[in-house]
Symmetry: C2
Subunit: 111 residues, 2 copies
DNA sequence: TTAATTGTTCCATATTCTAGAACTATTGGA
DNA sequence: TCCAATAGTTCTAGAATATGGAACAATTAA
């Protein structure tokens, strides 16, 4: 199994970030990671809004978030600990990530 | 030919916006429209970076921008006048759109 | 060892995108 | 009024991408 790829900060693109964040499952994962700041395993997100998603699908979503540079995944025993790269990202992209999170949060409140 | 659909402001979603803005052609179109504020026809964008794109493709990209709520297209004679909906969008989504534009601009400067 | 757990990879099917060809709408001129 | 020119849209087949089940890999605990 090849090691997980994490792009260095200067290879992270706006396009990659927006692409990663235009899928509802990935948004949910990222927002949750961003909210608490405490790392979570992938399997935390197997059950989303009372229906289960296949772990192969979940794995792909994590890969996309990872390779977009939004999260970092570190192996801890049998699981992965995932956390955001928000600090780095803010340095590079200014208020963009935060503005996106805010906009999504506002939207979520309306339901 | 069915009339062009423009979503009302409260049907515009963050997800739709991010999706529309994660394609390099659409970004180029939108940024250009945002920069000058003066409406442009679709065919203005047929030639992008010394290669021509098919007009059917261009038409699809405009449709996606339009249905995401990012631009408005009004028929003026034989062509369409396209302009952004930035003012409306800023009211609803705060600084997000601007932050995205800024980030893309900064990125563009590096080349 | 073996079994259990977590996540990745493989691959077939489903969905979405691209772009050529045909079509529609509008305008200007003969 | 009719024809040609121009600007975009729609249709559709092939290309690219996403989804999810099944097999696999890595780690740990018994």
């Amino acid at each position: 199994m090849r090691p997980l790829y994490h792009p260095p900060i200067d290879e992270i693109t706006v396009q990659g970030i927006l692409y990663a964040l235009c899928d509802p499952i990935r948004v949910r994962i990222f927002m949750q990671l961003a909210r608490t700041d405490c790392p979570k395993s992938c399997s935390t997100f197997l059950h989303i809004r009372d229906h289960t998603l296949p772990k192969s699908t979940l794995s792909q979503h994590f890969r996309i978030l990872r390779e977009a540079g939004l999260i970092r995944s570190e192996r801890k025993g049998v699981e992965l600990q995932n956390h955001t790269r928000c600090a780095e990202l803010e340095k590079k992209f200014g208020p963009m990530i935060n503005a996106i999170i805010q906009a999504y949060q506002k939207e979520a409140k309306k339901h």
